[in-house]
């Protein structure tokens, strides 16, 4: 559906986006993650044709965004970080204008506007001038504007920025509903927002793509390392000194286990040390059964920090 090949954007001597290559298939919900300044918005502006790349190509449904932009843009609905709205128009006028730009037939425009307003729940402000709307409502009008004409590919840049918690939940549920019929790319620097809806993550750092996989694959790829998760039958007072005494243990974190009579422990080993056997024998000697031992899976936040730090 969309493929970006060696996408680069240079401003003076600064590489804002550096040789980005990825493909988005139909039906995917892709999260574009990165710290502020990583190049997410620039990437989105390039794939939607808002700004031209310094080099590289963007193909949308087989159309080159630079050389054949009109048919390419027909397939995309874009919500930028700041929704581009004419503040002296009413919500209905704004959406009708968007319909006309998308060549929606006159007969279908009213129903299209009704549909979009219902999806994002802005029916109660349709007749209000956009200048009078709050940031949250403007964000939703921007989203409705991206939805009119039913483009197959939706690109949302920080869609929940500035919204209150209830509105954020509403937007998440809307995205889950939209993914049934659209392919979606959304960017954020808030992990919880991305992981709750996305099937695939693209993580950017300094303009480069540092990860491209599903959340599960990302977790598995970064699992292991020098941390072990243990579940031990015994009390904290009993287990703590046993583990502290093992050479090579850098850090311990104990907490009460949901399993009765057990304690959960996160053991961090010193670099290059494999403590599994030492832990096993130390606890066995003290008659403390190890009911579970496995490499620790870092949280997505930890992976994100590791990749983007």
């Amino acid at each position: 559906m969309l493929s970006a090949s060696n996408l680069t954007k240079q401003y003076d001597n600064v590489l804002s986006v550096d040789s980005l290559t990825f493909t988005i298939e139909k039906g995917e919900v892709v999260g574009l993650l990165g710290a502020n300044g990583a190049g997410k918005s620039t990437t989105m502006n390039m794939i939607t044709g808002c700004i031209p790349p310094s080099s590289g190509t963007v193909m949308v449904f087989g159309h080159d965004m630079h050389w054949d932009p009109i048919p390419a843009k027909r397939h995309i609905g874009y919500l930028p970080e700041i929704p581009p709205l004419y503040t002296d128009m009413t919500v209905t006028e704004q959406l009708l204008f968007a319909c006309s730009l998308r060549s929606v037939t006159k007969a279908a425009r009213k129903s299209e506007v009704d549909r979009a307003c219902e999806l994002v729940n802005i029916g109660d402000v349709r007749k209000r001038v956009i200048r009078q709307l709050s940031k949250g409502y403007r964000q939703r009008v921007g989203m409705a504007q991206a939805l009119v004409g039913s483009p197959e590919l939706l690109v949302f840049d920080e869609p929940t920025a500035g919204l209150d918690p209830k509105q954020i939940i509403d937007i998440r549920q809307l995205i889950l509903k939209l993914k049934e019929r659209h392919t979606i790319i959304l960017s954020s620097h808030i992990l919880a927002e991305i992981t709750s809806v996305c099937t695939r993550l693209l993580i950017m750092k300094g303009g480069k793509l540092v990860a491209d996989s599903t959340p599960e694959q990302l977790g598995n790829a970064h699992a292991g390392g020098n941390q072990l998760e243990l579940r031990i039958k015994g009390g904290e007072i009993q287990v703590h000194p046993l583990l502290t005494a093992i050479p090579g243990v850098a850090e311990l974190r104990l907490e009460t286990s949901p399993e009765p009579g057990c304690v959960d422990v996160l053991v961090t080993a010193q670099q290059g040390k494999d403590l599994r056997e030492a832990i096993f024998f130390a606890l066995a000697a003290a008659s403390c059964p190890v009911v579970m031992m496995r490499p620790a899976k870092p949280t997505l936040e930890e992976i994100f920090i590791r990749l983007t730090a």
């Binding site: 808002c50 700004i51 932009p69 843009k73 700041i82 709205l85 204008f97 968007a98 730009l101």
Partner: protein
């Protein structure tokens, strides 16, 4: 393009700029016609056309100053850049909307030659020539104003610079006649808006003048597209 055209046209009359322009234009043009023709018992419509242009080079920047300046300031150009419309369609839509507003005002003034015809005789070709020349002249002015509006976010700067450029292009005729002698003077005069307007006022449809205004219009519309293309790259 029709979406952009209709939106701009609607905007002229929801933002009051269209009404203000028409009110000022018709007030001044009516005043000039009344004093210059009716009260002076002057049946020559050419004198009205000669006077009205100095009003138009002041009023046209009012129409054109917000065309792109406002879009840049409100960041709504981003919407147009990501919709399936070409830069040419955007520029042409805005240009035609502005020309329509001018055309509405000009259409009202058709009553003046009718009044003169009622009291005396009016040469049809002179009237046609003047209206055609005026339309071509203002088309070029609108294209210039649109280009300048694309260069800045500040509407006041756009208006003032447009006025200065139009005035400069009008005065090239005088400069070429009195300040620059010989062939360079002739070239400078040839570039003047005024030089190519004169024959229209006599009802003469000179293809050279037609080509001059059309070329100027298309050139600055093209420049406007180039500026937008450059804005996208920034």
């Amino acid at each position: 393009m029709s979406a952009i055209y209709l939106k701009e046209l609607r905007n002229y009359f929801t933002s009051m700029i269209g009404y203000i322009y028409l009110a000022i234009f018709l007030l001044i043009s009516g005043f000039i016609f009344t004093t210059g023709n009716l009260l002076s018992q002057n049946g020559d419509i050419k004198s009205w056309f000669a006077s009205i242009f100095s009003v138009l080079i002041f009023l046209v920047p009012i129409l054109t100053m917000r065309l792109f300046s406002e879009e840049r300031k409100m960041r709504t150009l981003q919407l147009l850049f990501t919709m399936p419309v070409s830069l040419g369609e955007i520029v042409l839509g805005k240009f035609l909307a502005t020309l329509t507003v001018f055309g509405i005002g000009l259409a009202v003034t058709l009553v003046y030659p009718l009044i003169l015809a009622f009291f005396g005789s009016v040469e049809g070709m002179v009237v046609v020539g003047n209206y055609l020349g005026m339309t071509l002249l203002v088309s070029a002015c609108i294209a210039i104003g649109l280009f300048i509006s694309a260069l800045t976010e500040n509407q006041i700067i756009a208006a003032v610079v447009t006025y200065a450029v139009l005035l400069g292009l009008w005065l090239l005729d005088t400069a070429g006649q009195n300040l620059i002698k010989g062939s360079p003077g002739k070239i400078v005069r040839y570039l003047s808006l005024n030089t190519h307007y004169s024959e229209f006022t006599y009802g003469i449809l000179n293809p050279v003048d037609l080509v001059y205004y059309l070329t100027l219009t298309l050139l600055f519309l093209f420049f406007g597209v180039l500026v937008l293309e450059g804005r996208k790259a920034i």
